[in-house]
């Protein structure tokens, strides 16, 4: 048996004599030859170029407005003093030294030990958090 490449690409199908002239006549008679066709274009297709132009202008306006809001600085809000970095440093950090900080800080906060918490504090917490402490009563 021949392989695909060995079989000639001939057309074994046949048509009746003068078929194509006849079928063209029939097709044209039932389409372009029957009457003058008016190609109707819908309202949307006619207006589409103008709608697209209008949409582009609107989009550009929105983008411009948004960009202006973001990048152009607005008016200053009253009541918040503006300080430069140098002013901030001199006003605050110089007044703070580590000894002052240590004196004013609860020693527990600086300790590595876990602070003791009473059972009543735990129960208060669970009640506040809406946890049924009866479920864990025995653990306490």
């Amino acid at each position: 048996m021949k392989t695909l490449n060995e079989i000639p690409r001939e057309n074994p199908f046949k048509v009746p004599e003068n078929y194509f002239e006849e079928v063209n006549r029939r097709i044209i008679a039932s389409t372009a030859g029957s009457e003058n066709k008016v190609v109707k274009t819908g309202l949307y297709r006619r207006l589409r170029p103008y709608l697209l132009a209008a949409a582009s202008v609107a989009l550009l306006a929105v983008l411009s407005y948004t960009a202006a809001k973001i990048f152009i600085p607005g008016t200053k809000k009253p009541g918040i003093p503006e300080l430069s970095i140098e002013e901030f440093s001199s006003s605050y950090i110089d007044d703070i030294d580590i000894r002052t900080l240590e004196d004013n800080t609860d020693p527990v906060a600086l300790s590595d030990e876990i602070p003791a918490i009473s059972k009543s504090e735990i129960i208060d917490y669970l009640l506040l958090e809406n946890i049924d402490f009866n479920d864990i009563y025995e653990l306490l």
Binding site: M1, K2, T3, L4, E6, I7, R9, E10, N11, P12, F13, K14, V15, P16, F20, V23, N24, R26, I27, I28, S30, T31, A32, G33, N36, K37, V39, K40, T41
Partner: protein
């Protein structure tokens, strides 16, 4: 203007004189579309029906034809759909099961007045009919019409990669069938 004019000229004519333009479309494409349909439906009478339906469909939608696709890929898409619609109608109207439609069409080859091929041609056509429908279309368009994958992709709305893979597998299946495997 004649049928040898490029499609772009015919499309321009369709805009100014749709009747004259459409007559040129029929004269230019009826033969090509007929043979594409005929390879799918096999019987001349069925191909004749599908071809007329193709142009009636094209005429009804000529106002909607957009220039994004080529005229001929648009027509091929319509013709393919008409051929498949006819095959499906044949399945529904006969007692033949969906799986046997290939065999049914193969029998049509041998019994047809309008088939004049030798034994090798009969075997090739039977092999092609064994392919799934979509793969058969891809094989026919590539092997017989030598359509570019780019154009086939537009006509069948399938990616070029998928079409290439489909054609490759179709060739393998046909070769296996011809060698008796």
């Amino acid at each position: 203007m004649s049928i040898n004019n490029p499609d772009s000229d015919i499309i321009q004519l369709l805009k100014t004189d749709v009747n004259k333009g459409f007559r040129l479309v029929v004269e230019k494409y009826s033969k090509r579309l007929y043979w594409h349909i005929r390879r799918l439906v096999i019987l001349h009478e069925d191909a004749d029906d599908a071809l007329q339906n193709t142009f009636i469909n094209a005429w009804k939608n000529i106002g909607e034809f957009r220039n994004e696709s080529a005229l001929y890929t648009w027509l091929y898409a319509i013709a393919t759909n008409e051929a498949l619609a006819l095959i499906n109608k044949r399945k529904r109207n006969s007692s033949v099961s969906f799986d046997d439609i290939g065999s049914y069409l193969a029998n049509s080859i041998e019994g047809s007045t309008w088939f004049d091929g030798d034994e090798a041609q009969v075997k090739l056509r039977n092999a092609i009919l064994k392919l799934p429908e979509k793969q058969r279309i891809v094989f026919n368009l590539k092997y017989f019409d030598e359509m570019k994958y780019e154009d086939m992709s537009k006509a069948l709305k399938t990616s070029e990669g998928a079409l290439k893979a489909s054609y490759h597998h179709a060739v393998k299946k046909i070769e296996n069938f011809l060698s008796g495997n």
